[in-house]
């Protein structure tokens, strides 16, 4: 099966003022990718996502979008870190999900009833009928994540980008979320930033490590090389019939 490239990131460098946050990153995302992005805090993970979303201008390098990704706005579904939201803002779950349908071509006209049907379908798919008309201030962490996942999914994106969806949620939600993502991966590529390396490596197809540099190979096994040269604070994970974690040989006296 030939895989269509959705995005090709070429020699991407991003700096804030004179501080280089992301240096010469290369990555291509194909149709059915499920890439976990790991790396230390401040290592440039969120910066990479924001560059892909067009929220920050790269200092140098290129982002090449395929023909199928012409409309970057709605072809990418984005779930930001939910802690940045003002949860006293007067808006309901339904309205948040609906806002995911705003498009540049139609921002003047508002929304039509067809859009509302679509929101109802998404609400049903995510099983959040009961909270559909609640203000976001009354939601739990998991309900909040579901709501923003709904907003990301409603435009039927070809690429789903998630920034730490596994924070502020309990274990049960986390495993439900990953099951859902696996299902979604049948119809869209997924880029997922996480700090929970142990869990994601059992779900994602490949892992990219970002620590100013981006290190990536098409496998979900984290190589010693990724650990050593990129200083990623992680364990080595391998996969077998029994899920297990293998730590690289290390000196306990250190």
């Amino acid at each position: 099966m030939a895989m269509n490239k959705l995005i090709e990131i070429k020699n991407l460098t991003v700096s804030y003022d004179s501080k280089v946050v992301l240096n010469n990153a290369n990555l291509s995302v194909v149709e059915n990718d499920f890439i976990g992005i790991i790396g230390p805090n401040g290592g440039g993970k969120t910066t990479l996502l924001k560059a892909i979303l067009g929220l920050i201008q790269p200092t140098s390098g290129q982002l090449v979008f395929s023909e199928t990704m012409k409309n970057r706005g709605s072809d990418i579904g984005y779930l930001p870190q939910v802690n940045k939201f003002d949860n006293r803002f007067p808006i309901s779950v339904f309205e948040v999900i609906l806002s995911g349908l705003a498009r540049q071509e139609s921002w003047r006209s508002g929304f039509v009833s067809r859009d509302k049907k679509r929101v109802e379908a998404i609400i049903h798919e995510l099983g959040i009928e009961k909270i559909a008309h609640k203000p976001i201030g009354e939601l739990s962490g998991g309900q909040m994540q579901r709501t923003f996942l709904g907003r990301a999914l409603i435009s039927d994106p070809k690429l789903l980008i998630l920034d730490e969806p596994d924070t502020y949620v309990d274990n049960q939600f986390e495993s439900e979320l990953y099951r859902k993502l696996k299902e979604l991966n049948q119809r869209m590529a997924i880029l997922l930033v996480s700090h929970d390396v142990g869990t994601i490596s059992t779900y994602v197809k490949s892992i990219a490590c970002v620590n100013k540099e981006l290190h990536y190979h098409r496998s979900n096994i984290i190589s010693p090389e990724q650990l050593a040269s990129y200083n990623c604070p992680i364990q080595i994970i391998t996969h077998g019939s029994v899920p297990h974690t293998v730590l690289e040989t290390h000196n306990h006296n250190l």
Binding site: L53, A102, W107, F111
Partner: protein, 273 residues
């Protein structure tokens, strides 16, 4: 009470109250939701500089206030984004700078300025035809903007980054709404004065927010609550001879108190059943 409506000044005051309720109800909901109330405070006080200069030059004070309000609104933004000054400091700078300029120019203006107090504390009963025209035009512009672009405005207010990822004209809307906020504040200075005007943009919203947690209903309810508050305040101030601006604020505050008690009562209800 009916004889009140025979007076031209009273009808003008009522019309001013209605127009102000509309523009403050809408813009106030936006300001409160975005947590920009303190910016509103900075703009309000900075506009006093414009009032002072207009006095000195013999121009319409509201015109001076409008220019200063818009300038300070953009100035606060500019200082914060480019000047690397934290937002609250930037607000404080414009706040006191405007007041200082106003005080200096009023001091060097020959003669006594009898209307000065009306700008500090408001005087809805002396509202002029020109004021009404200005307020009317502004209410129409604000209402039209929100009618046409309601979803986009709420979306940008709620999650600016997501709106930018969607290629929506975020900066354009931010600037338009900033300028309109400044102009609405200036228009309402007539009613409650520089010192009290902020509550016209926050008290109705806080009261509405007790009963609904959605942007649209808060906006509509704020318009109604704001008008009822101004109407009641006007009547009370007429019969008690108290300053109208302050009376209106006290009425609006008591509306909030009543709302709180109603909510509390509703919570207690099951115990009495």
């Amino acid at each position: 009470m009916l004889e009140l409506f025979q007076y031209n000044f009273f009808n003008n005051a009522l019309l001013a109250a209605l127009l102000s309720a509309i523009s403050c109800g809408i813009i106030g909901s936006y300001i409160v939701s975005r947590r920009m109330v303190f910016i509103g405070g900075g703009i309000t006080h900075a506009s006093f500089g414009g009032i002072g200069i207009a006095y000195y030059l013999g121009l319409n004070p509201i015109l001076g206030a409008a220019v200063f309000a818009v300038l300070s609104a953009f100035g606060i933004n500019y200082f914060t984004q480019r000047g690397n000054i934290r937002q609250d400091s930037s607000i404080a700078i414009w706040w006191s700078l405007g007041m200082a300029i106003g005080i200096v120019f009023i001091a060097i203006t020959p003669g006594y300025s009898p209307n000065l107090m009306s700008f500090l504390f408001g005087s809805i009963l002396t509202v002029t035809q020109i004021d009404l025209l200005y307020m009317g035009a502004l209410s129409v512009v604000v209402a039209l903007l929100f009618l046409l672009f309601f979803r986009v405005i709420v979306m940008i207010a709620f999650d600016e980054e997501f709106a930018r990822a969607r290629n929506l004209p975020v900066q354009l809307f931010n600037y338009i709404l900033m300028a309109l906020s400044a102009l609405v504040i200036v228009a309402s200075i007539r009613i409650s004065g520089v010192i009290l005007v902020l509550s016209l943009l926050t008290l109705p919203q806080a009261t509405a927010n007790l009963f609904t947690k959605r942007f649209g209903p808060i906006m509509i309810a704020s318009i109604v609550i704001g008008f009822l508050g101004m109407f009641t305040g006007l009547i009370i101030s007429y019969y008690t001879d108290l300053p109208s601006g302050a009376t209106i604020i006290l009425v609006l505050t008591s509306f909030f108190g009543i709302g709180k008690i109603m909510l509390w009562g509703k919570e207690q209800l099951p115990f009495f059943k």
